[in-house]
């Protein structure tokens, strides 16, 4: 009996073992990360208007982040936001945004990459503001 109890506790301990933000994987409709939403006030862009900026963040700006282990997944996840926004799948785009923001925060705080990381963060914040307006009209 004690063995089964230990097994149950071990399984329960696996909760939230992922390095990614659990918010992206919740069972309710997605809301963008609060820290990104707090960065922008005023009127929001339509989600589709963020498409080009997200592609720029996923390609040109991500290249400057070098070969860090998280830079590749960040590029893929940011491309994912652009793809979902392009298909008007705002809930899926919001979940990819949560994952991308978490990957961006996990990058090393190197001075050489700071301008590009800040630029990507600003694009994420504008996207979060835009998705919030679209998901909560």
């Amino acid at each position: 009996m004690k063995r089964y109890l230990a097994l149950l506790l071990a399984l329960a301990g696996c909760s939230d073992a992922s390095p990614f933000a659990p918010e992206a994987f919740t069972r309710i409709p997605c809301r963008p990360p609060a820290n990104l939403m707090a960065m922008i006030t005023g009127p929001a862009f339509a989600p589709l208007e963020m498409h080009s900026a997200l592609l720029h963040a996923a390609n040109r700006m991500s290249l400057a982040l070098g070969t860090d282990a998280d830079a590749g997944p960040l590029k893929n996840a940011t491309n994912g936001i652009a793809a979902h926004i392009g298909a008007s799948e705002n809930d899926a785009a919001c979940r990819m945004l949560s994952i991308s923001a978490d990957l961006l925060e996990g990058l090393p705080d190197a001075p050489a990459t700071l301008p590009d990381r800040d630029g990507i963060r600003l694009i994420f914040a504008l996207t979060a503001h835009s998705l919030t307006a679209a998901l909560d009209p």
Binding site: L11, A24, I28, N76, R95
Partner: protein, 211 residues
């Protein structure tokens, strides 16, 4: 219809035939039903459900159960959770089994396991809830009706994925319920909660029949 009743008698005494027919409709053993199985008289049941969930959502669905043997039952559920526009719907389907480990006059204890699939926009969720259901019931109205209570703590082994990103967890969750039965009609209330940072609850009213 009873094979020992002659056709002549059936014609002459329709009230007796009707009484025989109604006699089959005994109140099902709800203790067994809430362990997701039927009884010797009615080994299966099906029900529709309607309720509310966190996120200002409406839940609609249906479930069924069928007992294959004295101890083993199969059950299935499907349903949808609808959020206010423009949020996406959650569509859920599940199939599972229950094994009765204790059966007495008033109390049943079952081990339950299922596999559930759920999709929310592009988010895919697969859950394997493994739990213990404890059900208690009593009869009233001369045995024609019953009421019962149920509790089912379970561990929900969960795998969620979107694009190439995944998240695994095993939150402890639980259900409690009230079941009322009159003859073959069954009804009840159920409340489910997941005790993790994805804390979700839903409360449902169920109405169905045993067969």
């Amino acid at each position: 219809m009873s094979p020992w009743l002659s056709r002549g008698a059936q014609r002459q005494n329709p009230v007796f035939v009707l009484a025989l027919g109604l006699g089959v409709l005994t109140a099902p053993d709800l203790a067994a039903q809430v362990c997701r199985g039927g009884t010797e008289v009615s080994p299966g049941w099906a029900a529709a459900e309607f309720g509310r969930a966190s996120g200002d959502a409406i839940v609609m669905g249906a479930d069924f159960a069928w007992r294959f043997s004295e101890s083993f039952s199969l059950f299935g559920e499907f349903g949808t959770t609808a959020y206010p526009d423009p949020d996406p719907r959650r569509n859920r389907r599940a199939i599972g089994g229950a094994y009765t480990v204790i059966r007495s006059t008033h109390v049943d204890v079952c081990l339950t396991a299922a596999i559930e699939g759920e999709r929310i926009a592009n988010l895919d969720i697969v859950r394997v809830p493994v739990g213990v259901a404890v059900a208690w019931s009593r009869t009233f109205a001369d045995g024609r009706a019953r009421w019962g209570l149920q509790a089912e703590p379970f561990l929900a082994l969960t795998h969620k994925s979107i694009a190439s990103y995944t998240h695994r967890s095993a939150p402890l969750s639980g259900r409690i319920g009230l079941v009322i039965g009159y003859r073959r009609l069954i009804g009840g209330l159920e409340y489910e909660n997941a005790f993790d940072n994805d804390a979700k609850w839903n409360a449902r009213v169920r109405l169905g029949f045993a067969f």
